[in-house]
């Protein structure tokens, strides 16, 4: 016991450099010859270092607090109190204020109506007539405009008297009006009409079909179509990780429908490597719809689902779009100006904002 205390003391002296040269050499000699003491010295040194750090840390904390209090006294540090108080009051009296505000609003309205009724009674007949006429005129104008719009909307571009054969979804891959959809959607079609999310119809032509990858490229050929300068999403060339969150937009109804899910497997039905399996809800009409990841990159195109199993949906991987483009460029010179979007502008946006931007690029495809 006594011995250890002595060693403790010696080590302390040693660390602080308080030893005389002779003591120092003697001590180092002792360390070399006695391994037990050497071990003790190492342990002791580490402990003293910890203690030293601890006391430095405590001292620093004390001085930090002193500085803080000192500056607070001097008014260099202002407490952000007032804001908090207002917010607190607002939270507490929100309801009362709402009631008060609505009462005030109702009173104002009542007074305003009374005043205006009295005022109207006092106005001359001329003025009243003039006003009625004006009103009539506005109504007429409005009716005219509405009719015009109605007519415009009612002119369908679909062939008359023929019911649509089948339908699916397609999405722009180039703002100039190039769409991708599934080959099985437009195969055997005589003519193709696409509708945007607002219900506007455009005529489209099939420019390429690839049965093997089940993809087709359409071109909107309609003067009403306004080309888009940039597409908000991009098309992903590389693969997707399992479990990645995905979402889809499509037209299983006459309305655009959103759904979300995840990447389930990297291969499709019976190990098909062109497709992958995703876990989302999909219904007839979703075919050809884009599958996005959270950054707004197209990672696939929905094409089939398994009949026997729930929620097993297969999508053609987006890489196939690039392969398809290579094919098209070989045969069709006009298609050489198709530029696939490679930069997404949807990163870190809210889902609702993402959808708002994507919506206008996803079309319903109807074939006749």
């Amino acid at each position: 016991m006594i011995e250890e205390i002595q060693i403790l003391e010696a080590v302390e002296k040693y660390i602080r450099g308080e030893m005389t040269p002779e003591e120092r050499t003697q001590f180092e000699e002792l360390r070399r010859t006695n391994s037990e003491i050497d071990q003790l010295v190492v342990e002791q040194t580490m402990f003293f270092n910890q203690l030293g750090n601890f006391s430095d840390w405590k001292a620093l904390k004390v001085s930090l607090n002193e500085v803080h209090n000192h500056l607070a006294e001097q008014g260099e540090i202002r407490q952000p109190q007032p804001k908090g108080v207002v917010r607190e009051l607002w939270r507490r009296y929100k309801r009362v204020m709402a009631v008060a505000a609505s009462i005030a609003g109702i009173t104002t309205l009542l007074i305003a109506t009374t005043v205006s009724m009295i005022a109207r009674k006092q106005s001359t007949e001329d003025l009243q007539q003039l006003r009625r006429e004006f009103r009539q005129e506005v109504a007429n104008k409005k009716k005219e405009v509405l009719n015009e719009v109605d007519n415009k909307i009612k002119i369908s571009k679909a062939p008359e008297n023929i019911a649509p054969k089948s339908g699916g979804t397609g999405f722009l891959i180039d703002g100039k009006g190039y769409l991708v959809t599934n080959a099985h959607v437009v195969n055997n079609a005589n003519s193709v009409i696409v509708l945007n999310s607002k219900g506007q119809e455009f005529r489209a032509n099939i420019i390429h079909i690839n049965i093997a990858s089940d993809l087709a490229v359409l071109r909107i050929e309609d003067n009403d179509f306004k080309p888009l300068a940039i597409l908000p999403y991009s098309i992903r060339k590389s693969g997707t990780d399992l479990g990645e969150q995905l979402f889809t937009l499509g037209y299983p109804r006459n309305e655009i429908v959103y759904n979300e899910g995840y990447m389930s497997a990297k291969t499709g039905y019976k190990g098909d490597t062109l497709t992958c399996q995703i876990g989302v809800q999909a219904n007839p009409g979703n075919s050809g719809g884009p599958v996005f990841n959270k950054n707004g990159e197209v990672v696939g195109i929905i094409n089939t689902r398994e009949k026997e199993a729930e929620g097993v949906v297969f999508a053609v991987t987006a890489r196939n779009i690039f392969l398809l483009m290579d094919d098209i460029r070989k045969s069709d010179t006009a298609a050489r100006n198709i530029k696939l979007p490679l930069l997404t502008t949807l990163r870190n946006l809210d889902r609702t904002q993402q959808i708002r931007k994507i919506e206008e690029c996803v079309f319903m495809v109807k074939t006749y």
Binding site: I5, F47, Q50, L51, N53, F54, S55, L60, I77, K83
Partner: protein, 169 residues
């Protein structure tokens, strides 16, 4: 004093950061002081090279510390805006965490030591009083007795500390 000038220059920025992101003025004080300790540790390690403005550095550290604190409290973690340029402070914070856990062990050991050992050691190692002064304060008849007592306390502290240390490794 360096601490005071840094405090004056940058405290209000950090306070705004914390208060605007679900924190109180007290939180701001805690976080800022912890950041100062990180800065101190870094500076005393001798390898410190400031590659950005001090302001950016402090902001980065406080932001990370606060995000971590919020996560620990399982509060809503807001998306705290990063400054235009940010500094990577992961290494510093990792080092700080390790050091902090060691300091906490020491504090815990100190607390479980009990009186008068705790006060005795504190006045020698923390307040840096000399042995005669301490002997007077604690009522020992001479400095040697006090010294003896101090070493006994130190041995106990060491034992508790290393027990704790081994538990945590």
């Amino acid at each position: 004093m360096a601490i005071e000038s840094i405090y004056k220059l940058h405290y209000s920025m950090v306070q705004a950061l914390i208060v605007n992101n679900n924190g109180s003025a007290d939180d701001a004080r805690d976080i800022f002081q912890e950041a100062m300790i990180v800065l101190y540790e870094k500076a005393s390690s001798g390898t410190f090279e400031l590659t950005s403005q001090l302001k950016t550095y402090i902001y980065s550290i406080c932001r990370r510390l606060w995000l971590k604190r919020l996560q620990q409290q399982q509060k809503f973690v807001p998306d705290i805006a990063a400054l235009d340029e940010m500094v990577l402070v992961e290494d510093e914070l990792e080092h700080h965490d390790r050091k902090n856990s060691e300091l906490m062990m020491m504090e815990k050991a100190m607390l479980s030591l009990g009186e008068p050992c705790k006060s005795l050691l504190e006045s020698y190692y923390l307040q840096k009083k000399n042995m005669t002064e301490i002997a007077g304060d604690f009522g020992y008849t001479n400095a040697d007795n006090a010294k003896n007592q101090k070493y006994k306390c130190l041995m106990r502290l060491k034992k508790i500390f290393f027990a704790e240390y081994k538990n945590n490794r």
